[in-house]
């Protein structure tokens, strides 16, 4: 059989996007190599580090364990779609203020994962944040400042609502 | 610890070699300090190696050169 790429129509960061990919290409590869959205990082390529986390139809997934062709008709949010135009998302702002990143390679995955948490659960406890983020590995920070950044962003989001 | 004469590290090594044959070969390779060896003068590692000048009462140590992670 002739090897044919597949045309995929999807929504990425609120915009309709079409691309061609090989069926064997992961969503991570499609984002990075086909669409040049390199903010989503590869750390392990088997779902165990969380650096490639994206929001896929409202749920976070590791994009290395999703095929690009599965994006057909879905809605995807990547790190490039987290800021509101020129304004950083509260999580991004708090990661900066709390120095919650050192090398920064895990940061996009953490921010995307934490955003999905705050979108669905305002005011999560420290334990809840730690559990939610347990699929995201960071080797530089020991997590302390990351957890604090998420807590502060959560508090900020609640203030805005009030 | 031994007392030797010299005003630079190179001279110190020359003096050492006269007292203990073979010392120079342990420390030098083709006339230059071996890369895995650092020279500490009074506890402080010098970047000038063989060219470093030494004071009459200086303590000189040849230590492992290390950088770290």
């Amino acid at each position: 059989m002739k090897q044919c790429k597949v045309r995929v129509e999807t929504w990425i960061n609120g915009e309709p996007v079409e691309f061609l990919c090989e069926p064997r290409q992961s969503l991570l590869e499609s984002l990075r190599d086909v669409l040049n959205l390199t903010g989503t990082k590869e750390g392990c390529n088997d779902g165990n580090c969380g650096a490639c986390t994206v929001i896929f139809d409202g749920r976070i997934v590791t994009s290395c364990l999703v095929l690009g062709v599965e994006a057909q008709g879905r809605a995807i949010t990547t790190i490039e779609g987290i800021a509101d135009g020129a304004k950083l998302h509260p999580l991004q702002q708090m990661f900066l203020e709390e120095a919650a990143l050192q090398c920064g390679i895990c940061t996009p995955g953490f921010i995307v994962a934490a955003k999905a948490l705050l979108d669905s659960e305002p005011g999560p406890s420290e334990d809840r944040i730690r559990l939610w983020l347990a699929n995201n590995l960071c080797r530089c920070t020991g997590y302390d400042k990351i957890i604090r950044a998420v807590q502060r962003a959560a508090a900020m989001a609640q203030e805005v609502k009030i | 610890m031994v007392e030797v004469e010299g005003t630079t590290v190179r001279e110190i090594i020359d003096s050492l070699e006269k007292q203990h044959s073979g010392m120079a070969e342990r420390l030098l390779d083709q006339g230059r300090l071996r890369p895995n060896i650092s020279v500490a003068i009074d506890g402080v590692v010098t970047p000038f190696g063989l060219l470093e000048e030494v004071e009459p009462q200086s303590e000189i140590h040849f230590v492992h050169a290390i950088a770290g992670g």
Binding site: M1, P23, G47, V61, L65, E70, Q72, L131, N136 | -
Partner: protein
Amino acid sequence: MKWFDYAAPTSLAAAITLRAEHPGSRLLAGGTDLLAQLRSGRIETAFVIDVKRIPELNVLQYDPGGGLTLGAAVPCYRIYQDAAVSRAYPSLAEAAGLIGGTQIQGRASLGGNLANAAPSADSTPLLIALGAVCRIVGPGGERMVAVEDFCTGPGRTVLGPLELLVSLHIPAKPARSGAKYLRFIPRNEMDIAVAGAGVAVTLDDGVIRSARIALAAVAPTPLFVREAGDLLQGQPPAPEIIGRAAALAGEAARPITDMRGDIEYRRHLCAVLTRRALNAAIAKAQEAN
């Protein structure tokens, strides 16, 4: 990864036809095992069939009389976010929350966890304890297989080459019953069970009417330890008899020594986890009315 082609059928019939047309095809549900295995070269295939668009594999339906129907591709998060499931089978909701981390739970399904047939699968011992049954569909029709009979070895199941695991069926929750799955892992998340124990207990008039116990990661397949549950039948839930049942589970375990632990340690863990799980399940049963 070698080239493969991909299709996402929208009916069971279409999926079975694709199975027939593409010998050696692989089924993709959450993909959290399949894609990792394809990438590592542990398995190869020329054709991947995505079953997530087939309605029967996406059913999540609870009926207090008939029990729970759980489509094989329903991702974990839907299970623990479902209010009815969390009420009727809190232990199942908990177990769904143990598979991988949050991201994995966004994709992985209990059907996939079962069909992957890893001895360490976290949801399978509990499904066995709860008396779950698999609905399997193939060209010749459908059949029902108890979960404890589904796995035949590491990575091997009773599924024929053209068959699909469609759904899991869990009997209605009996009154005064409780269940619990406990596993032991060195980290607190993101880990493969060194050993695991799933139990379900039903009480009646102060005694244990029935108990089912199954173990993870201590045999070539998830291990149903019928005799350990039977020992409890008709007994008041006292520490001594619970300890004996737990010990029986430890003895029934047939673990290997590998990087996760040695035989002695794993048998010991089976007994500890079974005892802890029984105590938790009995407490829940006593709370229930």
